[in-house]
Amino acid sequence: MIKSAPLNGDGGMSKLAGRCLIWTALVVFALWFLLPAYVVVGTSLKDLEEIRGGSLLALPHEINLDAWRFAWSEACIGVECTGLEPYFWNSVAMAVPAVLLSTFLGAITGYSLTKWQFRGANIVFALILFGCFVPFQVVILPMAQTLGILRITNTVYGLILVHTVYGLAFTTLFFRNYYVTIPDELVRAATIDGAGFFTIFFRIILPLSPPIIVVSVIWQFTQIWNDFLFGASFTTGGTQPIMVAMNNLVNTTTGVKQYNVDMAAALITAAPTILVYIIAGRYFVRGLTAGSVKG
């Protein structure tokens, strides 16, 4: 941050002009970022007549939640007209175990890699790290076959497995980078006192971990909830996660296009991650930037 005046700070007038310029730019960008949210919320509250007759940017005449109710419990997705509700719970049933499993496995793997360096640990870490960046297209075909062999195609269990495995690379990276900052002396002292691998993990390391656990949980939840590729590739019909069901709802082209229902569906589908962002935004940002910025 620059401590002196923001723009050429020789006089009140030019300083004021500079501040105006900065604020104008900031506000214009804020409007650009908020425009879609405003349009989506606004449209979801209008009825079809109002949508066709009015302007995209006009405020709705009244708060009308019919489209929300319809999207949640009545809209047709494929041939079933159940609304998004069952798919919402599919996503919950998939995300919760996958988040917990991948976070726990990432924690203990990261702990082993940093605090109990063994021969080859760096190679193991490098291979895990590259796993973060592999484009998933290169694994979906074998994965589809493997799920078939394991007889868990088209089930929540299949998706839990997929998300746990492919989330593991990220969670390991998070925990590894966090545990590197915890002094080794702590572990050494405990070892001298006779504490073993697991005792140290559960008594010393885990109690120090809540900040990074929160990051990992938020990151994994957002990734898994927002996933489309795996859901679309490995499930059909009633077992689909909400992201796939929402897309089907919007892109099915039978009958009159109900834009208000589409927008309400989008909001319902996005609500959990937005909520997480509002409640724990700080940790969300930390997750985003973890491992990508050094120093």
């Binding site: 620059i2 005046a5 923001p6 050429n8 900031l26 650009w32 970022f33 908020l34 879609p36 349009v39 449209t43 066709r52 302007s55 995209l56 082993s112 605090k115 109990w116 360096q117 063994f118 760096n122 870490f125 291979l127 590259f130 796993g131 960046f133 484009p135 297209q137 694994v139 979906i140 075909l141 074998p142 492919y166 593991l168 690379a169 080794d184 070892t191 957002t222 927002n226 489309f228 679309a232 590739s233 992201m243 929402m246 897309n247 919007v250 892109n251 589409d262 927008m263 989008a266 589908t269 996005a270 991650t273 962002y277 935004g281 969300f284 940002v285 985003l288 990508s292 910025v293 050094k294």
Partner: protein, 298 residues
């Protein structure tokens, strides 16, 4: 590093870390690297509707590069990738510098800029598709303001659909770039800046000569992460343009999905996935190599 000294049941004690790492590591070895080999092999067979396992050389790659759809996808990836990365970085960087000027409502504004990152590309695509809807969206709004000839039918225009993708993707990701740059800006050595401003350097010069050049590693990170995002882009296309009109806005990830799951061309699908992997690896491997090597010197 804590190396537990031998003592007690030393043999097992020493193996515990390896044993604990192995389930996760084996899972990644199998589900990532094993599957890469698997896909690689399938890409060299005549697989169509079902995978076949007799070796056939590079015929699928030959077929792949003769397909117009694939060449369109590659072209699109180039246009989309370059624009997406450039514009995201320019906007993200600008936003970070603007927010760095002791803005009172910084926390709130940052929240606004970054919220798209919490939302999936499917939702982003759906929202922008609605805004860019030619008959009801922004086009109608601007025309009602009196600019009768204004047109904004990007998503349904063969030549412009890719730019619609860029626009939505930039909207989604520039807040992330801002967050990267802002945290880097905050860690620039304040003493150098103070010294420079005592010497009479203007804030503009300080930014362009001292601060931004010192952020080269962050530029690198941003380019790498954004290019990885671009190569993986799939959902946004599905939700915003459906790859259309025709296949004018299809990207390699969409091509792969289409071939593998819709058109019974598993071999071509596998070959296209391998090309995508090679592209990612060409960017990631040198980057990760230098990062990991750098860490050891810290």
């Amino acid at each position: 590093m804590a190396r537990p000294s031998a003592g007690g049941s030393w043999r097992l004690d020493r193996l515990i870390p390896q044993i604990v790492v192995s389930p996760g590591f084996l899972a990644i070895l199998l589900f990532v690297y094993g599957f890469i080999l698997w896909t690689g092999y399938v890409s060299m067979t005549k697989s169509r509707m079902l995978p076949k396992y007799d070796f056939a050389g590079l015929i699928q790659y030959e077929r792949l590069f003769q397909m117009d759809r694939w060449n369109v996808a590659i072209n699109n990836l180039f246009v989309f990738g370059v624009l997406f990365i450039l514009v995201s970085i320019v906007i993200g960087c600008l936003l970070a510098v603007l927010l760095d000027q002791k803005i009172r409502a910084e926390g709130f504004i940052r929240t606004v800029y970054l919220y798209p990152m919490a939302i999936s590309f499917i939702i982003t695509g759906t929202a922008w598709k609605w805004i860019m809807n030619p008959s009801l969206g922004l086009e109608t709004v601007v025309r009602s303001w009196g600019w009768e000839s204004f047109s904004f039918g990007w998503t349904v225009d063969q030549d412009l659909a890719v730019y619609a993708l860029v626009m939505a993707a930039v909207w989604q990701s520039s807040g992330f770039v801002m967050a990267l740059f802002l945290s880097a800006l905050r860690s620039v050595d304040q003493d150098i800046i103070k010294a420079a401003s005592l010497d009479g350097a203007t804030p503009f010069r300080i930014y362009t000569r001292i601060i931004l050049p010192s952020m080269r590693p962050v530029f690198m990170s941003a380019v790498v992460i954004l290019s990885h995002l671009a190569i993986k882009s799939f959902d946004l296309v599905v939700a915003l343009t459906g790859g259309g009109p025709g296949y004018a806005s299809t990207l390699p990830a969409n091509f792969m999905y289409e071939m593998t799951f819709r058109r019974n061309e598993i071999g071509v699908g596998a070959a296209s996935a391998m090309v995508m992997l090679a592209t990612v690896a060409a960017i990631m491997v040198p980057y990760l190599y230098s990062e990991l090597r750098g860490q050891k010197h810290d």
